[in-house]
Symmetry: C2
Subunit: 401 residues, 2 copies
């Protein structure tokens, strides 16, 4: 079928990398090859910066085998950027698109990238330049509205769950308090996934703190001591984005740097973990306290990929191209889950505005009333997205009399 709009296509990646963002790139590229409307298939290096600089590569020159190897490789193969286009940027990008006859643009990223796609779509429309502009969802934070979950989340969640499985065992071997700081600026989904690590009774994480609930330091200290008194140890999963009752991020007391969208730098520093350790230490009752900040490993570690996540990341790329060539002007591909038995996913094309800017948070039914744990409903939600986890053996430990 198709719309008859012939021209070149450009695809780009934006924001924080994920373990499966290249699945979307390769899904869209291989689908584009199947449609005669799409002539040149270009990759813009480092997101819209590549369009601004006319820094484009020819994806038709990549072999299928090479594309498949890239699909299975973490991080953004085209390079990424964190940049909101200014009015001047838009004019320059439009100029490159017209000169290059780029009629199809696919932007893989989170809510900031959807916003960028929306801005470009609007500018092209004003200039009467006929083109198709699509956002392909990606975010390990799982915070895009209108999506049941987002590509990238499942694999990052698998990393976090595996990490907590190991860390719980480590803490069981050498007792103490262990604090793990997990990514997720606004939404607690990734931190919540730590609870998937629990296999046996009394397994950690014993406490889970999400940005959706106010974080109170004295209460945190009391919670940790209560677990420690009961079990002789305590594993804590805490989101980097935890904030006090006034909404000020706890980490902001120490950190100042912001990115192009005004977001605070929360990752790539151990400051929050160390601050929380000091608070426990100050109470003077527990001597061995450790904090790890998982940092960039949780979004880039190779070989810890959720198969469902890889499959869905590929599919959103394919769907975006299908919609574009079938005449849809612009949009974002959203992942929806069918209610009922089993794990069934559908893909819908929604308006860019529905995912741009604002983010989604953990719904109340996923957060325990105590505000320091998740509910069984969350675990049920997350399990099929993350897929099977490593088997954890445990001694029966029958005492000698």
């Amino acid at each position: 079928m198709g719309t008859g709009l012939k021209g070149n296509m450009t695809i780009a990646q934006s924001g924080g990398p994920s373990m499966v963002i290249n699945q979307s790139l390769v899904g869209a590229t291989l689908e584009a090859i199947r449609h005669k409307e799409i002539q040149g298939i270009y990759g813009a290096l480092h997101g819209i910066q590549g369009l601004l600089d006319d820094n484009l590569i020819d994806l038709r020159k990549e072999t299928p085998a090479n594309l498949e190897a890239v699909a299975a490789t973490p991080s953004s193969a085209l390079g990424s950027v964190r940049k909101k286009p200014t009015a001047d940027d838009c004019r320059r990008i439009l100029d490159v698109m017209q000169r290059r006859n780029i009629r199809y643009l696919f932007y893989i990223g989170g809510n900031d990238s959807a916003e960028t796609a929306g801005i470009l779509s609007e500018e092209a429309h004003k200039a009467n330049f006929d083109f198709r502009c699509f956002h392909i969802p990606k975010t390990i934070d799982n915070d895009l509205r209108e999506n049941d979950h987002t590509p990238g989340f499942g694999s990052a969640a698998k990393f976090v769950a595996c990490a907590l499985m190991g860390d719980n065992l480590d803490n069981a071997a050498l007792h103490g308090v262990k604090i793990d700081v997990i990514m997720g600026r606004n939404a607690g989904f990734l931190t919540a996934a730590s609870a998937l690590a629990r296999v046996h009774e009394n397994d950690g994480p014993h406490l889970v703190y999400l940005p959706e609930r106010p974080f109170d330091i004295p209460r945190f200290v009391r919670d940790v001591h209560a677990v420690y008194e009961r079990l002789g140890r305590c594993v804590v999963a805490v989101s980097e984005g935890i904030a006090n009752a006034d909404g000020e991020p706890i980490a902001s007391l120490f950190l100042k740097e912001k990115d192009g969208f005004g977001n605070m730098q929360l990752s790539g520093t151990g400051a929050l973990g160390d601050l929380l350790s000091r608070e426990i230490k100050k109470a003077g009752k527990i001597s061995r306290i450790r904090a790890d900040t998982f940092g960039y490993l949780q979004r880039s570690f190779p070989s810890i990929v959720s198969q469902a996540d890889a499959r869905e990341a590929r599919k959103v790329g394919v769907e975006a191209v299908k919609h574009a060539v079938s005449g849809t002007k612009d949009g974002s591909i959203a992942i929806k889950r069918k209610l009922g038995a089993g794990y069934k996913i559908t893909y819908e094309c929604i308006d860019l505005k529905q995912v741009a800017r604002a983010t989604r948070h953990m719904p109340d039914e996923f957060i325990a009333k105590s505000s320091n744990d998740v509910t069984p409903a969350f675990l049920e939600y997350a399990r099929p997205i993350v897929g099977p986890l490593p088997k954890i053996g445990c001694l029966k430990k029958i005492r000698i009399k």
Copy 2:
């Protein structure tokens, strides 16, 4: 064959957990079942603390399937401890051993554990208590003398190499300086393993700092800027144990806590990475600087196991039991590598004193003359120990004219 010394056996685990320490536990347990000299097979919970408290479990009550599941699970299934026995502790342990007729003791751990085994062996000898005391090697730091490498190192090194593969790709997508702080108090082997992550030209880590060479902050800052000017980015692997020319750990400027053997706490805090970030930031030329401290993940993460490491960890447990029942009084099982083509390993029983206390360092031929990298000889040494790494795909990136 055998010595005729009949009695019960106790096995225990000590020091930092590893991903394969339970292979040694299960190897020794399954081998012990085969020998009629060994009657009860006990596990002491939390190392010598379990002997002090008479806190023993019956390993004969575990099923073979359960033992195999435990073998494949990271961390110390019996629990661990960091404790050097006092003279009084030795008397209490000897008392438990005599009362329980424990004639065989196997202690899995690093150089501190070998020292503990040596102390117990000596005390038993003084008391004319006939028993066999063996150290089974384990340390992710790879710093035991007389060993080509140690069980635990290969899997931790695999984790570090995988992490750097992902982190290099992440840094290539979003440019900046990335500092990764890696475990290893005295020896740089684990930090050096980061260099296995390099697949393509200009892949990181671009700089590797080991505790075997004095760390000079101004020189570090110059090194990073030189790489950044050349590539527009820089990935740094740095050992937690780096020290200045006077031998003072860089981290010690910030950290005070020490363990039972007088070792400084270097892990479980992001302080060193944050300090190094600040030094780069102070120079004022680079804005995006991030630091991750890998922390406990590198020794406990499930499913990232080197097959060679798992096999060898099993074997040192088996060998220790074989030596003990064949009459050797005490000793430690050392891993030796045969020179020549291919990767061939032999196991030798050596004196406890040969591995106790002092540690091994990276030999000079493994460290680049520049003091900020490893040599090809190191990579050749490490590759078979770590085994195959994930495949990394890369776009050819042929520019559009």
